[in-house]
Every structure is written in structure tokens, then in C-alpha cells.
């Protein structure tokens, strides 16, 4: 089994099925629209991905044909809805190569998943003085829940520093692992810079040091390459549906069974109990223990369709296509004078974060928008990354499976307009 980073170097070795880009693009209705009279060039997939017709149809079909609440009715529709909902759990388990679908907890998104882990570990496993290690690459959602836990429970938060090229300082990481380390929470791929973190190594180092749990934020990884949680050795792994070409409002938390079984519940309510009296309630086993209330039912149908869609396209083909776009964009943008690419780690996903000498990212974003090119301009919810690189903001072009080299050309042409205006 190849690791993620090995896989990225040589996607699928010799059996790569090429992506039929024209066919893929035709699957995404929104790509047909125009913005200010120009064809939409959507380069903001790292913020949220567009949806293929298959996802839209699966959600519509569920609402039109088999919608009811799940896990409670004896009637036909409830059974059908439950089947769709639970099959989404099985598909998510297979996608991540989890040992069982009982290891898949549905959440509102990756942010809620990390909050769930921080809360439940804080209640059940961690004590004041215990140390949690995060990294300098984290999105705010993998920083703030741990800070809240620190303030509530007195845990100690440590941060693995980042090197100038946007990769993690692994030597410093080894130095941070200590007697009191109980948890490591790391991103798999940086949303701001595209750096692929060596998560397998990070996990192995932690496990070699003792009983340390590792959570991986895989929001930017799962849509772009094959992830195998058992090969990685992760205790927790999370991703959001909306970044996987599925709907917003649903996310997946993988938790190793023994770990999930040891955790107290997250929220209380229906769905998560096995019995309730006014004196005492008892909890269901994982994953249902962590799913209080009516879940995102229609969204689960959409997520299942998104997983099917990606599996059918083949992750090796997706990865090869996106790595091609990354190389093409890096080369093309590097030719623009005054453009600085931030994040030049050797292992990167198809994200190019940059600044232009003469114009502020926000102004660039406005000008690109008028050319039909949608990018993110700002701090990307990763202010510490920006601080480390000495910039307030960057422009980020992030690519998805539907992007083309012609769209990279459109980005480069629009950037020349920025220079025309700003000098």
C-alpha cells in the first residue's frame, strides 16, 4: 500500500485511467454559467467545491421519493430513508478504508467533528497539564477548539513550527513530544498553502512515544487523493461533505472503534440514547452515541452520491489531473513579474497561494472576479500561517477535478490586467 505522499509522486504507477475532462465538466451544471458576461472560472474549490448533477439528483430524488426521518419509523419511507442514510455511512467507511461503518460519525462538518473530539476527549480522557500538539499549518477550526479546551480544562497547547517553504519542522515536532503529550491534531493538507503534511510519519512518531491519540483534519486531502486511515494509523480523521463535491451541512468523523467506545457522548438528545427515565439515561454505542437529534438526512444522500462519483472517476486519475494543473499553474504564474508564491514545499496539493508586489490581494480578487475568475483573497481562516510568512493576506487559487489548463491561462491573463491597472 502506498502512502499519500508516495502516491502523489507516482499516481497509480502504470494503470492510471485518464480523466475525461470534458465529460467531467459537463457533470457540473454551474460551470455552464457566466459571471459578468464571462465564463465562470471557479478556482475556489478549497473553500467549497461545486456539485455534480449526480449529487443534486440524489438529493432531489430522496426528497421527492423516499424522505422521512431515520431510525425511528416503522413505515416504508422511514425504512428507505434509513437505508440511504446508513449506506452513506458504509460508503464513507469504505472511502477511508475504516474497519467498520461503526467508526463513522456524521457531524455538521469537519469543524464540528474537531469540536466533538476536543470536547469528548476533554471530558473523558484529558486532565489539566496534559499536552496537545497542533501545527502551524492549521486552519482556525483545528486551533480554536483546542484553545477553548485549554481554557476550560487547563490542558497545555503546543505548536509545531513551520519552515519558510511551508513544510512542517519535524525535528521540532519530535522535540515537542513528551511525557505529558496525549493528543496530536494535525492537518493532512494545508488549506492556505497546499502543503501535504507527512501525517504517516507524524502518527508513527507519536505512537512510538506512547499512548498518544492523533487526529487528522483531512478536509483538503479526501477530495484529491486516496486516504487510508488504517495505513496512516490515525485515531481520528475528519472531512467535510461540501469540499468533497457534496452538500454542506454534513461531515464525517472517523474514530477508531476502541477510542470512540471510550469517549463520553457529545450532545444529548434523541437518537443517541438507548433508554431515558427522569432518573437516568443510558447511551447507545458509537457511532450513534455522538449523533444526537435528527441528522442531515438529505445531505447524507448527497454525500453518498459524491463518494460514488469520485470512486467511479478513480482517485489516481483525479490526483494525476490535479498534480498536472498544479505544475502548469506554478510554472505559468511564476512567469509573472512581482508575483510571489507562498508555500513551495516539495509535496503539495493543487493550491497556489500568492501575492503580487503592486496590488493587495483584496484588490486582485475584485479584478479577477470581473474577469469571471473566482479566487479566495484573504487569510483563509489560517491567520497564524499568514503571520509566519509576514503577510496579512494572499490570493489563493485552488483547483478541483473540473479545472482545466485553459482556466489557468484565464487566471494568468486576468493577473496581467491587474498589473496593467496597478503597475
Amino acid at each position: 500500500m502506498t502512502t499519500m505522499t508516495e502516491a502523489i509522486k507516482s499516481p497509480g504507477a502504470n494503470s492510471v485511467k485518464a480523466l475525461d475532462l470534458e465529460k467531467v465538466r459537463a457533470d457540473f451544471p454551474i460551470l455552464q454559467r457566466e459571471v459578468y458576461g464571462r465564463p465562470l472560472v471557479y478556482l475556489d474549490t478549497a473553500a467549497s467545491a461545486q456539485k455534480p448533477r449526480q449529487v443534486i439528483e440524489a438529493m432531489t430524488s430522496m426528497m421527492e421519493q423516499s424522505y422521512a426521518n431515520v431510525h425511528r419509523g416503522v413505515h416504508r419511507l422511514s425504512q428507505e430513508a434509513t437505508d440511504v442514510f446508513e449506506s452513506a455511512r458504509e460508503k464513507a467507511a469504505r472511502l477511508l478504508n475504516a474497519a467498520s461503518s461503526d467508526e463513522i460519525v456524521f457531524t455538521r462538518g469537519a469543524t464540528e467533528a474537531i469540536n466533538l473530539v476536543a470536547f469528548c476527549c476533554g471530558e473523558g480522557l484529558l486532565e489539566a497539564g496534559d499536552e496537545v500538539i497542533i501545527t502551524a499549518l492549521e486552519h482556525h477550526s483545528n486551533i480554536v477548539p483546542w484553545q477553548m479546551l485549554r481554557d476550560r480544562k487547563g490542558i497545555v497547547l503546543k505548536v509545531v513550527p513551520m519552515l519558510e517553504d511551508g513544510s512542517l519542522d519535524l525535528e521540532a515536532y519530535r522535540g515537542l513530544l513528551g511525557e505529558r503529550t496525549r493528543m496530536v491534531a494535525t492537518t493532512h493538507i494545508s488549506n492556505a498553502l497546499g502543503t501535504i503534511a507527512p501525517v504517516k510519519e507524524i502518527i508513527a512518531e507519536a505512537k512510538a512515544r506512547g499512548d498518544i491519540l492523533v487526529l487528522v483534519d483531512g478536509c483538503q486531502a479526501v477530495p484529491h487523493c486516496r486516504v487510508d486511515v488504517r495505513d496512516l494509523g490515525a485515531d481520528f480523521y475528519t472531512f467535510s461533505g461540501h469540499k468533497l463535491y457534496g452538500p454542506s451541512g454534513i461531515g464525517v468523523l472517523y474514530g477508531r472503534k476502541e477510542v470512540l467506545d471510550a469517549l463520553p457522548p457529545y450532545q444529548g438528545g434523541g437518537e443517541m440514547i438507548s433508554s431515558v427515565t427522569f432518573e437516568k439515561s443510558s447511551w447507545k454505542a458509537a457511532p450513534h452515541r455522538f449523533e444526537a437529534g435528527t441528522p442531515a438526512i438529505v445531505e447524507a444522500a448527497g454525500l453518498a452520491a459524491a463518494i460514488d462519483y469520485l470512486e467511479a472517476l478513480d482517485f489516481d486519475a483525479i490526483q494525476a489531473h490535479e498534480q498536472g494543473l498544479l505544475a502548469y499553474a506554478t510554472d505559468k504564474l511564476s512567469q509573472i513579474e512581482g508575483l510571489r508564491i507562498l508555500g513551495t514545499a516539495p509535496e503539495k496539493a493543487a493550491i497556489v497561494s500568492f501575492t503580487l508586489e503592486s496590488a493587495h490581494p483584496h484588490d486582485i480578487g475584485t479584478i479577477l472576479d470581473r474577469a469571471g475568475v473566482a479566487v479566495r483573497a484573504g487569510h483563509h481562516c489560517a491567520q497564524p500561517v499568514m503571520d509566519r510568512l509576514g503577510v496579512a493576506a494572499t490570493v489563493r487559487a485552488s483547483f478541483g477535478l473540473y479545472n482545466s489548463e485553459a482556466e489557468v491561462d484565464a487566471l494568468a491573463a486576468a493577473l496581467l490586467k491587474v498589473k496593467e491597472l496597478f503597475g
Binding site: H360, H362, T366, H379, A392, A393, K417, L421, G423
Partner: protein, 156 residues
């Protein structure tokens, strides 16, 4: 496409954005505030010196931001000196109006200096770019925060 953008990024804006006026921290400032736009990370400090009569004698700023927010801050500092607190607030209201409306207000306030309004007109291009109105008004929100004695203001 460039024509529409030139409406927003007029020469004066590019000039003030690149070479902002009154970009300094006066030692004798007696009111100041920090303004922050959490969406884009822009951050400005506005400094005011008010005399005993409550007239603004000096206005300056420091900070980081896009061309729109820096140009707006720069033009603001040029417009406030000599105004009373009340006039400064009225000018902000008028400025906000021109950033969001095509027509001038029906009851144009008489005690506002038409020249100041004219100077600020150069920013009226943001009307066509609603997400950028906050960039144009950040310095002004910060200025009113300083007048109110607030130290921090953030535009959501």
C-alpha cells in the same frame, strides 16, 4: 472589463493607495482607535487631535490594507481637519451614502463642505462592488470609534 474597473480604481485612488497622505502617528494625538476587518485582515489605526472646542486639528492613520481602504483613509484624513466632532460624523454619513446610493440625498446637509464631498466622490465607484463598501468605510468607522472613546472596532 477594464473600463468598469477603472471606475473603481480611479487614478486618485491608485495614487492615494500607493502614497497615502497623513500616514503617520502624531505624538500629540488625543483620540485613537484600531479598526479591523476580520474578513480580509485589513487593520488601521486612526489618530485624532481635538482642541478644547472639540475641533479636529489633526487626523492621521497607519496600517495595512487594500487600495480602497488605504485611499479612503488617506482622503478621510485630508477631509476632517477643521471640522467639529458633529461635522465629522455628518461627513461620514454623507460618505456612506455616496458609497451606497447613485443619487445624492434629498436633504443634503447644508453645513457640509461641498469640496470635501467632491473629493470623496472619487470612491463612489464602490457602489458597483458591494463587498468592497466595508473596505471604503473601515477608516471612517475607526474614526467614529476614536471619537466615541472606543479603542477597538471591527467591521463584520
Amino acid at each position: 472589463m477594464l473600463d468598469e474597473l477603472r471606475e473603481l480604481y480611479q487614478e486618485a485612488i491608485l495614487d492615494h493607495g500607493k502614497n497615502p497622505r497623513n500616514f503617520r502617528h502624531p505624538d500629540d494625538a488625543n483620540r485613537s482607535a484600531h479598526g479591523h476587518n476580520p474578513v480580509c485582515g485589513d487593520t488601521l489605526f486612526v489618530y485624532l487631535k481635538l482642541d478644547e472646542e472639540g475641533v479636529i486639528r489633526d487626523c492621521a492613520f497607519k496600517g495595512k490594507g487594500c487600495a480602497i481602504s488605504l485611499a479612503s483613509a488617506s482622503l478621510m484624513t485630508q477631509s476632517l481637519t477643521g471640522l467639529t466632532e458633529k461635522q465629522a460624523r455628518a461627513l461620514f454619513e454623507r460618505f456612506h451614502w455616496l458609497c451606497t446610493h447613485d443619487e445624492p440625498p434629498e436633504d443634503e446637509t447644508e453645513d457640509l463642505d461641498p469640496e470635501a464631498i467632491e473629493r470623496l466622490e472619487v470612491l463612489s465607484g464602490v457602489r458597483e462592488f458591494p463587498v468592497r463598501v466595508k473596505c471604503a468605510t473601515l477608516a471612517w468607522h475607526t474614526m467614529t470609534a476614536a471619537l466615541d472613546g472606543q479603542q477597538e472596532v471591527s467591521t463584520e
